[in-house]
Structures are given as C-alpha cells and as structure tokens.
Amino acid sequence: VKNRLRVLRAERGWSQADLSARLAVSRQTVNAIETGRYDPSLPLAFKIAGLFDLLIEEVFEPERPPIADRPREELSS
C-alpha cells in the first residue's frame, strides 16, 4: 500500500516524533509506514486519515488499482 503520509506531515510541519505522539505509536512505526515497510492496521489507518481530516483513500492507495478500475483487457488476461 502506498501512502502520502510524509507529504501530509511535511505540509503541517510536524516531525515524525510529533506525528507518533499524536497517533500514540512509536516513531519507528511512523517511519516504517512512511517508507512503505509496514502497512498499518485498519484502525490505525482510520486514525491517521482522521488526524489529517481526510478520507482513508486520500492517504492510502493500493499498489495496483482496485479490480473495478482496472482495464478489461488486464482482467481477462
């Protein structure tokens, strides 16, 4: 799962430590999510989206588009 966490955090001028304190997780967790090494649980993903006042899909997006958005040729192959 790709995410815009680093950009959103930078826009607000927060450090990773600031964000981790707001989310009540460790700084390592924030760093691992930003670098894509760790995908957060659904509750944490909702919490992140809520913190930035965004929808969850505005922060996170799948590596591949959902099935409904894929070209018909790709699904049939």
Binding site: A21, R22, A24, V25, Q28
Partner: protein, 197 residues
C-alpha cells in the same frame, strides 16, 4: 504541539534501541566468558590438579565475565530501554543453566541454585507480558516474528539434541533448552527490529 499522551512505545522504550545491539553483543561476550571460566573453575576444583594461582584466577575471570554482562544490562536499563528487563531475565537463565550441574547432587547449594532459577524465569515471563501489553502494533509484529524465530530455533535444537542423544552421543543437559529459547527469542527480536528501521 498540545500535550498528547505518549502511547505504547513512548519515551520509556519497550523496543531495543540502536545502542542495544552493542550491549547485547557485550552481554553475550560476558556470558560466554563467565560460562567458560566457571566451567574451568569447577573442573579445576573437582580434579584438584591445579596450582594455587589457577583457581583464584578462574574465579576472577568468572566474576569479570558476569560483571561485563551485568554492566551491559545496567547500561540498557539506564537508557530507559525496557528490553533490558528481558535481557536481564535471559542473562539469569543462561547463568543459572551454567551453574545448575556444578554443585554436588542434593547439596543445599544445588537446591538453592535450582530454586534461584525461578527469579530470572519470572522476570523473563513478566517482561514478555509487559511487552505484549504495552507495545504498539508494529512492535507486536516484531515481537511475534522474534518469538517465531526463537520457537523455530528451539525446535531445531531440541530435535537435533534428541537425535544425537539417541544416536549414542553424551546426554544433553535439557536445562539448556530454556537458555536456547530465551537467547534465540532475543536474537529474533533484534533481527526483526532491523527489518523495520
């Protein structure tokens, strides 16, 4: 920034910090030095073939090894690294395992050292529960991967030991299984932690 409650892995630590890697190596070296020196000391005392200086030297070497290992744990503790608790428990279990068969059977020292094992084992168990309760979701995953590594290594060691024993090799001291389990869990947690840094 408003005062936000620090969560599971706040300043108190919980997870091994970067410097903990050096301290873990220091602890392992100290434990290895202690076990080797203490085994040599016990042998020298049993056989009584040594001269007057060997036994005090080996005694000092044992104490030095133990001191280095304890110092590494104290360094972790002073940095606020909660992994120190788990490492202190591991250290106690490994040291106890080295001591347990060195006393005459049935002697007060043998019974005492056997009962002494309950202290580091309780500390290790409590540190695991504490970790599970306080860790955030990433560290729970790290801990799970570490425990899985420890379980796999212990299973492999148990099977190997049993197979070698049944093949006629000298009897394996199964008390070492606890030491293998705690040490391999610790190594597994450190390795898993590196993956997410």
């Amino acid at each position: 920034m408003e005062n936000v409650k620090i969560g599971a892995c706040g300043p108190a630590g919980v997870r091994p910090k970067k410097e903990s890697g050096q301290d873990l190596i220091l602890m392992a070296l100290g434990v290895a030095g202690f076990l080797l020196a203490f085994a040599a000391l016990a042998r020298a005392m049993r056989t009584a073939v040594s001269n007057g200086t060997l036994i005090p030297l080996l005694g000092l070497a044992s104490l030095a090894g133990l001191g280095v290992a304890v110092w590494a744990v104290v360094r972790m503790w002073r940095r606020g690294d909660d992994a120190a608790l788990m490492n202190a428990g591991s250290l106690g279990i490994v040291v106890w395992t080295g001591l347990i068969d060195k006393w005459p059977e049935g002697s007060p020292l043998a019974v005492g050292s056997a009962l002494l094992m309950l202290a580091p084992a309780s500390l290790f168990a409590w540190s695991i529960f504490r970790l599970a309760r306080r860790a955030d979701e990433l560290y729970r995953r790290i801990a799970l991967e570490g425990l899985a590594f420890g379980a796999a290594v212990s299973l492999f060691a148990a099977l190997t030991g049993a197979a070698l024993e049944s093949a006629g090799l000298p009897r394996f001291n199964w008390a070492w299984m606890a030491a293998i389990l705690v040490v391999s869990c610790g190594v597994g947690i450190v390795l898993a932690n590196r993956r997410y840094q």
